[in-house]
Symmetry: C2
Subunit: 138 residues, 2 copies
């Protein structure tokens, strides 16, 4: 079975045409797209797609933990179809978001969780200048 449909079902989501398209977009792109990027890109294949559907679907996917919501960029929410633990880097110049490995020895080991809280998600964000922008900046 299609890995996208499988992924949705695993998270208790009925795989409608729109949901599959949106989830597939997220799983096949490592661009950490915004709502608008997803909407505009899918528009060509699905002319009837509504912006509201993209919002609704992303909310549902978030609720069921089928994607990762990146709040690294204060100007826009970004989405990541890769839910495996990894950190992110936002370049303040080109605004691109890069995947970076989690720190410490074992690759995907999360930072130690704080006491007294029931931690459900951990996000590690860096910002600064990416390699290219570091060179290009005057």
């Amino acid at each position: 079975m299609d890995f996208v449909i499988e992924h949705l079902k695993k998270h208790g989501i009925k795989p409608s045409v729109q949901r599959v398209a949106i989830m597939r977009y997220l799983m096949e792109h490592c661009t950490h797209p915004t709502v608008d990027a997803i909407y505009c890109d899918l528009q060509s294949q699905m002319p009837t797609l509504s912006r509201t559907t993209v919002y609704n679907t992303l909310s549902l996917l978030e609720e069921r933990d089928a994607l990762s919501v990146l709040t690294i960029d204060s100007r826009n929410i970004h989405y990541d179809g890769d839910t495996r633990p990894h950190a992110h880097f936002l370049c303040r110049r080109c605004k691109q978001i890069f995947d970076v490995p989690m720190p410490q020895g074992s690759a995907d080991e999360m930072p130690e969780t704080p006491a007294g809280f029931k931690v459900e998600h951990t996000h590690l964000y860096y910002d600064g200048l990416c390699d290219r922008c570091r060179v290009e900046e005057n």
Copy 2:
């Protein structure tokens, strides 16, 4: 000299009445306020204060690294006058943001930085349920 004015000068910011009031608010409250919270709370003492001034001032303070911008909550930007390294926890139920210590042995040691980037800031966010909400939830 007043520690707020001192803080502003240290970051190359001319201490106007409004800037001092906003920076003082941030340094004396550990509530991680939003723009609106700052504006509404200062309103009573400074009736002529403009929302735009709060936005302008927070932008300036961010630019000069005189505060920390928290993007942990996708619904609202929060600000933190404490720029010492520490992590944050957002409760999904009561929406409160809590300070939590950075993980690892030495208290304020940041997670290792990724190669190939010029890292300027690091943010470690957790979300889930706080102690109180964990008990109260159904």
